[in-house]
Amino acid sequence: MSDLLTTPIPETDAIEATGAQPRSLTLNMGPQHPSTHGVLRLQLELDGETIVKCQPDIGYLHTGIEKEFEVKTYQQAVTLTDRIDYLAPLSNNLCYCLAVEKLLGLEIPPLAQWTRVMLTELTRLNSHLVWLGTHAIDIGAMSVFLYCFREREDILRIFEMYSGQRMMTSYFRIGGLALEPPRGWQQRVRTFIDAFPGKVDEYEELLTGNRIWIGRTRGVGIMSMEDMLDLGVTGPMLRAAGLKYDARKNEPYSSYDKFDFEIPTRTEGDVYARYQVRIEEMRQSARIVKQALEGMPSGRWTADAPHVVLPDREKMKTQMEALIYHFKIVTEGFRVPAGEVYQVIESPRGEVGYYVLSDGTTLPYRVHVRGPSFGNLQAVPRMVAGTLIADVIASIGSMDFVLGDCDR
């Protein structure tokens, strides 16, 4: 023991302890780190606790969905779009369907359009709830997660009622909806949406004025507007920095122009501002759902296009023509006029774009998906450079990315 006490400290260690010779350390975060929400790997170069350089490594979830599109008929390919983003399947369904419908020149009946709006807004709520819960858990607020998943469960039940599926719904089809809206949907949606604003108040009570929450998020993860636009960031991140742009307002699709809602913006551009924007978006989405519920038009849920939309079972069994159409659509699909379309919608994460290129056959020649997470993640190195390692978790959590959407 006395030996240990008298042993002089070796010279090299002494230098390190005084910090005279800073050494950088490379740290791997992920791909299995819980706070990277999927399989994102960040290679961090650290100087003490400060990030000198960050290099994201993606592609762990690359599934070749864009290749798969090329061997599916247009209608079959709808099921692939669900799998791109597991938190916003209906947003991806919608964007793909709108793109193909634009190529076909189809007119979608009001009932289908309004149902689409209602369900994509519920999808936004679903996605924001998962984001809020997991983001809070990352930062250390455990209980918010339980509240958020309670409401998310209700939304998934609504999806199940509509389509028979909780997550991979594939409910929007080219030409309208897959099925007639189920009996009793009004009651189910009304019960949920009437209670929802009160639930948002609950989350806000837990977080908005919470000193620890503010301490961990305010002033963290700031990026300038120029950087974000240049790097391809979209969605709530831009709105939290003050850009009032939302595809639902600026390039309205599927009757969004008939709904009354606000685009929330903040100017601070930090993690806290992103939180505030998304909370406000939830309130606005609830407003849209309510309007859709109250003003739901009646009529058919599919377009009047027998060469694209499958006939009703009853007609198929009794009318020759319907039987022929049914046979043609099921066996070979429908032909889409040659051309190309880039359709953009506002998903919970930002700008989703589907570039669909048709060569006039029944299979898409090329489908490119512009996932918002891909563009957003590209900005991670810029966002975390020079910040503390503890803030990396808060910063990347505030981006709300889904790796499936990024890697496709």
């Binding site: 592609g59 690359h62 798969e68 090329e70 391809g232 390039e251 880039y342 774009g353 512009r370 563009g375």
Partner: protein, 157 residues
Amino acid sequence: MLPENLKENATATALEAFDGTAVVSGKFDRDELTIEIAPEKIVSVCGFLKYDLRFVRLSTVTGVDWYPAEPRFEVVYHLHSLDRNERLRLKCRLPGAVPEIDSVTEVWRGANWFERETFDLFGVRFRNHPDLRRIMLPDDWEGHPLRKDYSITGDRV
């Protein structure tokens, strides 16, 4: 050369006035403007579009393979102007033997990953790209999966 129906289009005519030799063709179809650019002019055209015509956002870059036709590859750029809420699609056609084009990362830094993805999946090389590596697939992967001559099922062992 621009077709007749694009003579009224402000963006198309401004682009032609900027550099007539850069514009190969154009079309306006389903409310979307597409302009084909000579590949060697892509960087100067994009610079003009970003700084003078305010297409501040590059939405995406991707490729199309027209195998076995020649020129085989198309690189497709989708641009977005927030001021005018206008979208524009640029295309460059590249030969199948040596598909190479200048990178637009000096105009939009965000082109970095999109070009890497196009390189990874189509094998189109971007000159002057700061970090041209595979992004989706492992570094030692052989072939470029989104090419039309790449089998979808894989080879039998």
